[in-house]
């Protein structure tokens, strides 16, 4: 590969917007094998790879890309799996543009290597011939309870199972996957991918039990005492939806994003009335917020045949925490973005009106480096029949509220040390319950750390 070609990324296949907004099938098609090999060949295989520093779980990126160059997808997958046991999920939902890809030296002269898409290609093609390498533990060297089957819980379970530790994962809902199942829509992460990862875990000997809310179905203390677990990993996530606290928030057709997404992703309200859970299919839908959850909710609304969908965000596109690629996807699909608006009231019924204050952008920046805003006197009204509030989630309060000795931070997060140990003996925590709402891969990074620490605690190497 020479000259200008090295600057250009091999385009990643996507379904056309007009087609994909009619269903919940995956939007991004990923690379074909040939495309993946061509893209991999752009990699310079740096001797001191910066991309690896950008990966929260430290995947040897140049190594797996080198295998793809040779067309050896199974080996590429093996390389990834040394560090990440959920590659088919991460290859789809990781904000790689802010992580590994942002460090790629090719980014200085053109487009960085599409590491996320290559990870997905490795997982899509690497398992074609030998499904689910199961290695059920022959003898158990310890017994650990994992609370929650989201990204952190699954990662910790997999890491422990690899070391012959008996693991039981407890899930409160009727499907496994946590936020992967109830939060992320199937057009970004197909259900079969989650299902396959769960099957892989089962084949590794991990036990998974659903419909168990630890704290209620099993008292938290019973895990260590009665149920004889030697260690507990809390990975209950950030499930508590934040509301605006404005008038009209309890009106019909006003949803938290969690509720809206759960109705569709978990309860299949898109297939109502065959499935019993209903959802309001608005003609004009307004989604408040600027993160991935807001974009997901807006794109779901579109697929529930809304005519107009608006994202209402209090700053500008530059400050939006959502992934760039998802913002682009949303725009292609016809979602309209309204910036510098802060809702103050919801009026009416059925056909509602979202009353907003116009914000002004300031030069001053906040702790995260984003420009601050201030309210102006100008009022902006937006008509909508469905309004979805997607302004963030806080850590799930149930276990901390029942265990007053478990130290908590200001936002309700469980306080952990550098090894993810909590203030309680034999109890670790990781993922959003420990960090507040973050990304799948951050949760996985914490879960790996916790697993290492749990192994040391159990005397397993």
């Amino acid at each position: 590969m020479e000259g200008k070609d090295i600057e250009r990324r091999i385009p990643i296949g996507e379904r056309p917007p007009e087609e994909r907004i009619k269903d919940f099938e995956e939007v991004c098609l990923g690379y074909t094998k040939e495309e993946a090999i061509a893209e991999a060949k752009r990699c310079l295989t740096c001797s001191r790879p910066l991309c690896v520093e950008g990966c929260p779980v430290g995947i040897n990126i140049p190594a797996f890309i080198s295998y793809i160059k040779e067309g050896n997808f199974p080996q590429a997958l093996e390389e990834i799996k040394k560090k990440n046991l959920l590659p088919s999920i991460c290859g789809r939902v990781c904000p790689s543009e802010y992580q590994c890809e942002s460090k790629c030296v090719l980014g200085k002269i053109g487009a960085p290597i599409a590491i996320g898409a290559l990870e997905r290609a490795a997982s899509d093609y690497g398992e074609e011939n030998h499904l689910c390498e199961g290695n059920s533990p022959s003898h158990s060297v310890g017994r650990v309870a994992v609370i929650g089957s989201g990204p952190a819980g699954l990662t910790c379970a997999a890491e422990l199972a690899r070391s012959n530790i008996e693991v039981v994962v407890f899930e409160a809902l009727h499907e496994f996957g946590g936020v992967l199942s109830y939060g992320i829509p199937s057009f970004r992460l197909p259900r079969r991918i989650i299902q396959k990862q769960i099957e892989t875990l089962k084949a590794m000997g991990v036990k998974l039990e659903k419909n168990i809310l630890v704290g209620r179905t099993i008292p938290f203390r019973d895990l260590l005492m009665k149920e004889k677990f030697q260690a507990v990993f809390i990975a209950t996530g950030a499930g508590l939806p934040q509301l605006l606290g404005i008038n009209g928030e309890n009106l019909e057709g006003v949803y938290s994003a969690n509720e809206y997404l759960t109705r569709v992703n978990l309860m299949r309200a898109d297939q109502f009335p065959r499935y019993g859970t209903p959802i309001k299919r608005g003609k004009r839908v307004a989604v408040i917020g600027g993160g991935n959850v807001a974009i997901d909710a807006a794109r779901v609304a579109l697929r529930l045949s809304a005519e107009e969908v608006y994202i209402v965000y209090r700053r500008t596109e530059e400050e939006m925490p959502a992934r760039r690629v998802e913002i682009e996807h949303a725009k292609e699909e016809g979602i309209k973005f309204l910036y510098l608006l802060s809702p103050i009231e919801i009026k009416g019924n059925g056909e509602k009106e979202l009353v907003c204050k116009r914000m002004a952008l300031l030069d001053e920046r906040d702790a995260s480096g984003r420009r601050k805003v201030r309210e102006t006197e100008e009022i902006f009204n937006l008509k909508a029949d469905v309004i979805i509030i997607a302004i963030g989630q806080k850590p799930n309060p149930l276990i901390p509220s029942l265990e007053p000795t478990l130290r908590r931070g200001k936002e309700g997060e469980i306080i952990v040390d550098e090894e993810m140990r909590t203030s309680l003996e034999a109890v670790w925590a990781g993922g959003d319950i420990a960090s507040g709402a973050a990304t799948v891969i951050m949760a996985m990074g914490m879960a790996k750390k916790a697993a290492e620490s749990i192994k040391r605690y159990l005397g397993v190497t």
């Binding site: 409160a172 009727h174 008292p219 509301l243 019993g276 209903p278 799930n396 149930l398």
Partner: protein, 274 residues
């Protein structure tokens, strides 16, 4: 999956189910509820716990066949499995020595009143229960409630059994003659509201058990949000029991009626299918 071990029609369209649920039975406390899905395609609905048996590892719930999900549930027989059962959920009622307590149960509020009356009586409270229904045949579980209480007053709207009239009328007469320390009311929203309105001017502490729409019922979706004392609370994790004098019942009624149209449609679709 949870196996049904007993099924009994307590009245026309009112069914008692006993379900194998070892963990729920071991950890259930007074005033809690479960969430269930009869089939994979069902909605998740909350139902109060009526009774449980730790030794046998079973729980009992009572429901009325009204919509799609309860119709689906009613098709399951002894030996069949409920697709999803989660519990026990909600904050338990604090079992303290309150003194003289009145437990008011209206209609489908009678089954959960049972474990509350029993728990409070065992704790040494004097429990007077008032149960009521539209007509005699719908007045369920009378003998059980009688056993769990020191005194029982029964009412029917049409006078076909016990006192004629609403439970609130019986309660008013009782409050006029007896000093009461706590009232617990469970039943239809208008009934709980009427009880709260009755006791408010008298300054008698009143606990109601709210039944908003729920989805996950673990505090994650917020659909069960209710206004209590001007604040938003999630009934699934902050409740379901709240101070009746602080509850915004009008807001609760509106939110309960949110899916009326869809509920009718779902029932119709299901009936056409079976």
């Amino acid at each position: 999956m949870a196996k049904i071990t007993r099924k009994e029609f307590l009245a026309q369209d009112i069914v008692l189910l006993e379900i194998e649920a070892k963990r729920i039975a071991s950890n259930a406390q007074v005033g809690q509820f479960v969430v269930l899905m009869p089939y994979e395609t069902s909605e998740r609905i909350p139902i109060s716990l009526h009774n449980w048996d730790q030794i046998r590892g079973t729980i009992q719930i009572v429901f009325q066949i009204v919509g799609r999900t309860t119709s689906e549930l009613s098709t399951l027989d002894v030996g069949d499995y409920i697709y999803t059962l989660l519990g026990p959920l909600g904050k338990p009622l604090e079992l303290a020595e309150y003194g003289k307590v009145v437990c008011v149960g209206g209609g489908l509020g009678i089954p959960p009143i049972y474990n509350i009356a029993k728990g409070l009586k065992e704790k040494g409270n004097e429990v007077i229960s008032i149960i009521g229904a539209r007509t005699a045949s719908l007045l369920i579980l009378e003998e059980l409630i009688r056993e769990a209480s020191d005194e029982l007053i029964t009412c029917t709207d049409d006078g076909s059994y016990g006192r004629k009239g609403f439970v609130t009328e019986a309660l008013r007469d009782l409050l006029n003659t007896t000093k009461i320390d706590l009232v617990i009311a469970i039943g239809p929203v208008p009934m709980m509201e009427a009880v709260a309105n009755l006791t408010r001017p008298m300054g008698i502490k009143t606990i109601v058990s709210l039944n908003p729409i729920m989805l996950d019922a673990t505090g994650m979706c917020g659909v069960c949000r209710v206004k209590v004392g001007g604040q938003i609370k999630f009934a699934c994790v902050d409740g379901p029991k709240f101070d009746g004098h602080e509850v915004d019942f009008a807001d609760l009624r509106r939110r309960l009626a949110m899916y009326k149209e869809e509920e009718a449609k779902a029932l119709e679709e299901w009936k056409a299918r079976i």
